[in-house]
């Protein structure tokens, strides 16, 4: 995509983000911002998968697991009680360094205790996701074909069972009462309605920044190499692209983005459960990228924002998972390039007809 069109797209995105917030403020419906904020984080994760699937051509079926790894790392570390203040000894030293912070007990007013700072949880979340991605990706990505899909499907199921059965993961209930995370001065990631607008802008701002980074990556030499791998691994190899290394790096980037999104979302909603790791969750990410047109960051952003918001609002009801599965099937059968390509063709055709005078239309051979 050309830089000018890209800038225009980013401008439209910014105007939309601000416009929607203004609209909810004007109409007295700020509660929409909650789902819109969550939508931004899910979209952030989806963008990472778009890079992996669309550009490097590898399908991962455990994107939800990486999301959950990030979410649980944050949730566990920031709710692990390390005694009550004031801190002394090693805990005092850690508190001085800022690694330990005070948190308020949600149920007992005035009761405070020491926990790890959310920043540590965030860092561990990213590192854990990167390490897991390296571990699965290193053997699977040296092979060609669908080995990564198989390996990730298995990994996703393992993570789901692990989170469901683990003691410190809270089992089927997951972890709640995750404390707020003061990410920027004036912005704390938490479900408190006083912070709703700040959270909304932080979430979409982060997603926008990641979008810009990914757009730049895709337009660079690395991006060309990734697309070359997608189009012909043999050709890319014979032109000297280290295909295995690129696929692995891209897999790690996509995993880290999912983990970051999971970490943010957990602090925002204040809780996390094992449902995020279900295989159908991961299929949903795949469906969103496919619906966005695979190698199309803008398409993925649009489709993901729209469908995720509708899903979070409960529009699809009990058919939620079925809707995403149906979308995936329809796309694979009808428009493998994504629905936006034929849509664009239809629109272009309609536009040409509109511009033509009615008398001409009948005789025009086109």
């Amino acid at each position: 995509m050309k830089p000018r069109a890209e800038r225009l797209g980013l401008l439209i995105l910014a105007v939309l983000v601000v416009g929607v917030q203004a609209l909810t403020a004007a109409t007295g419906t700020p509660f929409y911002l909650t789902q819109l904020t969550m939508t931004a984080y899910y979209t952030l994760a989806t963008l990472g998968l778009c890079l992996l699937m669309g550009y490097a051509g590898q399908v991962s079926l455990c994107h939800g697991a990486f999301f959950a790894i990030g979410a649980y790392a944050s949730a566990i570390l920031s709710t692990l009680r390390l005694g009550s203040p004031p801190a002394a000894g090693w805990r005092g030293a850690l508190a001085k360094l800022g690694v330990l912070v005070r948190a308020q007990d949600l149920f007992v007013p005035g009761q405070e205790y020491l926990v790890f700072t959310p920043w540590l949880g965030f860092a561990v979340a990213l590192l854990l996701a990167a390490a897991a991605a390296l571990l699965i990706g290193y053997p699977a990505l040296r092979l060609r074909g669908h080995y990564l899909s198989m390996a990730t499907l298995g990994f996703g199921l393992i993570v789901y069972r692990f989170l469901l059965g683990g003691d410190f993961t809270g089992g089927a209930d997951g972890i709640s009462a995750v404390p707020p995370w003061r990410v920027l001065p004036g912005i704390a990631l938490c479900s408190d309605s006083a912070h709703r607008v700040g959270n909304y802008y932080f979430a979409w701002g982060t997603t926008g920044v990641v979008l810009i980074l990914l757009l730049n990556l895709v337009a660079s030499r690395t991006g060309r190499a990734l697309r070359a791998i997608h189009e012909g691994e043999n050709a890319a190899n014979s032109m000297g692209v280290d295909t295995a290394a690129y696929k692995l790096r891209t897999f790690v980037i996509s995993a880290v983005l999912a983990a970051a999104a999971g970490s943010f979302l957990t602090h925002y909603t204040g809780s996390i459960g094992p449902g995020e790791t279900q295989a159908l969750r991961s299929v949903r990410y795949v469906a969103l990228v496919a619906a966005g047109g695979m190698a199309n960051l803008w398409g993925t952003l649009t489709v993901s924002a729209l469908l995720t918001f509708l899903s979070l609002r409960g529009v699809f009801g009990t058919l939620d998972h079925a809707v995403f599965g149906a979308i995936l099937i329809l796309i694979v059968c009808l428009t493998p390039d994504g629905p936006l390509v034929p849509l664009r063709r239809v629109l272009a055709h309609a536009w040409r007809r509109l511009r033509r005078r009615p008398g001409q239309a009948a005789t025009d051979p086109e």
Partner: protein, 238 residues
């Protein structure tokens, strides 16, 4: 420039190349002829490291480079144009060339030269490469290799599936590259056309070299004519 000694490689239990020894001098065009399944492409892949060699050695200007990764070969100046061209169909012609110059810091300059050599590619620079004709795609495949500024260009079946007129164009390009100091080692089934441009040639059969010689001699060799040119090769060729 390129010396191969006793090189062996294959797939699984199948040995496709059984101890091939050959050499290519700087400034030469050398052809490797052989029928389907003789092991020609496997040999090419083993040279650039796309197939791990089972034994033997590959030397480039005296340095052993046996089994090095493909991306190292490119920095040594050895570039393969793979069989079947492997054009990146959804990417534009210009992007194909940019990927070709992936390891070349002066890729813009090299691409300018490619456009000079193949004006048709320049006029189609922004078009998806998949929309080019077969001949244009072969030119793009060669141009893409040239974007890496090779010293030794390996062509794997560059004439495959091309119309006779286009075959002549590709051969002209090969000759012209040689005149500009690029050494060319090409694998072909189209023996007659290839011997017209090559200085020397080897004949490969079931993984072994069975004949070697100057092109003029090989064209006259009754064994070659029978096996690889066909009896009425004149009619077939023109």
């Amino acid at each position: 420039m390129l010396v191969i000694r006793n090189l062996r490689t294959g797939y699984g239990n199948l040995e496709a190349v059984r101890g091939v020894t050959l050499h290519v001098e700087a400034g030469e065009v050398v052809a490797l002829l052989g029928a389907n399944g003789a092991g020609k492409s496997s040999l090419m892949k083993a040279i650039v490291g796309l197939l791990p060699p089972w034994g033997g050695e590959v030397r480039l200007s005296g340095r052993a480079i046996t089994g090095e990764a493909p991306w190292h070969m490119i920095s040594h100046g050895v570039v393969l144009v793979p069989e079947g061209r492997h054009i990146l169909g959804d990417m534009s012609v210009a992007e194909n060339l940019l990927v070709g110059g992936y390891h070349n810091p002066d890729r813009q300059l090299a691409i300018g030269e490619v456009f000079e050599r193949f004006p048709i590619l320049k006029s189609r620079a922004r078009q998806p490469a998949g929309t080019l004709s077969g001949g244009e795609q072969q030119m793009l495949a060669i141009g893409r290799a040239l974007a890496a500024r090779p010293k030794l260009l390996l062509l794997d079946e560059p004439l495959l599936g091309l119309a006779p007129l286009i075959v002549r164009d590709v051969l002209r390009v090969v000759r012209d590259l040689r005149d500009h100091g690029v050494t060319v080692f090409m694998v072909e089934q189209n023996a007659m056309a290839t011997l017209g441009v090559a200085d020397r040639a080897y004949v490969l059969e079931t993984g072994e070299i069975i004949l070697e010689g100057r092109s003029e001699d090989l064209v006259r060799n009754p064994e070659v004519r029978r096996a690889y040119l066909g009896k009425g090769y004149k009619e077939v060729w023109e």
